[in-house]
């Protein structure tokens, strides 16, 4: 229950807050809780444990440090510049929190532990991707989605730790490595790192 409340709070910060640093902290909280459950399922499988270690290192250390570095060097990147005002974001968070409580009623999903929390994490990741305009927030949104998928995997198929952790590791590697590399390349063209500047390709 404590973990679920923590995730509820962290998810709210991800959607509501405008500070890159605080959102990164909220992201780390989500990853740490997911890591807590994932670690338990990998203890008896050395290969899975190795993948989990790499995955956790990438998600909880490399990615936050990378994002913090960008935010520290570029003042414009310290604000996530949400596309909608706070009241609307608050309504979104409430809708996600209440909506996710209905997911256990979807046929076939009820037996999966913490399925409402899993849904809440994934819905929050989509909300971050849609609402926050800063490119760094998009990287965070993808990483939160990856954390949600990892938790879903750990809870629904704990007998497949190798496959789950291999997937989680590679997902984190792709998002962290490519995302931060592209953000770095973007700085020369769009110093604000604003998603609104990526509108030249349309139609």
């Amino acid at each position: 229950m404590t973990f679920e409340l923590l995730i509820l709070a962290a998810g709210a910060v991800l959607v509501l807050d405008t500070s890159t640093s605080r959102v990164v902290v909220a992201y780390v909280v989500v990853v740490a809780i997911v890591g807590h459950f994932a670690a338990a399922s990998t203890l008896h499988a050395p290969l899975a444990l190795a993948f989990f270690s790499i995955s956790f290192f990438l998600k909880a250390i490399v990615a936050p440090i990378g994002i913090w570095t960008f935010a520290r060097r570029n003042a414009a990147a310290r604000n996530l510049r949400p596309a909608v005002d706070l009241p609307i974001r608050l309504v979104v968070v409430l809708a996600l929190a209440f909506g996710s409580q209905y997911v256990p009623h979807v046929p076939g999903l009820a037996p999966i532990p913490m399925v409402g929390t899993i849904a809440y994490i994934m819905l929050c990741s989509f909300a971050v991707l849609v609402i926050q305009r800063n490119l760094l927030a998009q990287v965070i949104g993808l990483l939160v989605l990856s954390a949600g998928v990892t938790l879903a995997a750990v809870m629904s198929a704990p007998q497949l730790p190798e496959a789950v952790e291999l997937g989680a590791t590679f997902d984190a590697l792709v998002v962290t490595f490519i995302g931060l590399t592209l953000v770095r390349a973007f700085l020369t063209h769009h110093p604000l790192l604003d998603i609104e500047s990526l509108r030249s390709l349309r139609g």
Partner: protein
Amino acid sequence: MTWLVVISPLLAALITMLFRPLDVRRTARVVFSSAAAAMPLTLIGKVDWLSLLFAGIVSSISLLATIFSTGMYSVDWGRGQALWTRKSIYFVLLAIFWSAMLLVVLATNFGLLWFGIAATTLATAFLVGFSGEAAALEAAWKYLVLCSVGIGLALLGIVLLGRVSLEEGLDPAQALAWGAITQHHVSSAVPLASLATAIMLIGFGTKAGLVPMHAWLPDAHSKAPAPISGLLSGVLVSCSLYAIMRTATVASALGAGDSFRQLLLGFGVASIIVAGALMLVQRDLKRLLAYSTVEHAGIVALALGFGGPLGQFAALFHVVAHAFAKSAAFFTAGLVQSASGTTTLSELKGLWNGGLPGRFLLGALAALGGMPPFALFVSELLLVAAGIAAHQWIALGLGAFGIVLGFAALTRATIAIESGHAPAEPPLAQRFSPPLSRLSIGAAAAALTCAVAFAVVPWTSLGATFAAIARGIGKMP
């Protein structure tokens, strides 16, 4: 042995880098890549025919893209400053892309297949943004974000599928293997199986460019270098459709086949109509071709949705025919772009009189429009027959309407760019420095030849082989 086949393109690229003189390196690249492309032949009898067929498509078109790149980029090269915009890195990324796609089609379970699909993102995001220009980076970013969401959802679907397998008593080592799942005939967890396969379809469908998950595709395919566009449209989309075919097999085995086919019909019809309509308003040749890819992915989804032996045959045949036609179209578009400096349709005139690339482009556009004697004409006829056999009149009618829109868009563009007089400049073919330009033109010609040659397949002994492979899609063995 399978692993050796998968990594052979990467090994070929790394060995090629050891050669210092540029001429020797180019020759070595063609030789070693050809050897890597022949490697799937060593798997005859060791993997199933569907995997082998797709491995053949991946290797042959990747080889053509490598040859095309070797010829084309010996003259002009990217001017970006980032490490990943360098020429040597380009060929390594291309080889990683090739290897990842081989992994997708040679995997025997959804875990490895997903890993291959995710690995393609690693290489292609940089290849899409290879020029380092703002628009290319924008396309790469959209590609990364949307495809990461897609592969994330695909992973979610796969773990839910794993849960279904485990609940039915499958060994954890076999829980994600489609061979084991289909033989086990599990059916007591239909709701979860339906949900899992639907999420997998959305995930893989994102990578295949099915509407409404297609938003990244026109940007990425139009902004990538021409040979990469050819690979993205011709092969990566085919690999994603291959993943959907494997998912369809499992969905049928788990009792979720009907709902899966309904979803395929919906995605297929939406893709064909939306892409066909948007093709009519395109002003850029490569973007027009990219939307054509969305349309053709929709045609394959529609054929799979029709189901039955005819629908499955049409889907499989269309994937192969489209792979060669679309890569030929992007290769020739690249030649045209290199010669004229633009892909804007209103600025391209008299290409027919401009030399071989313009004439090849005419052929490629005719192929994509589904005109005889190209293989896509045959596969679209098969699609109509499959729709009639399945009594899916509404889906067939809507699909046919979308195909007509796409045909009209391609015909209008073809007439506009091929007719008239070319600007008073030398013919296109003369602008490339021989002999390397011949490599690029040869690669485009080879792809186009395959797009014609496959038209006769249904009437040869290979047609029976195709039919046998197709029967394995969407139903239990």
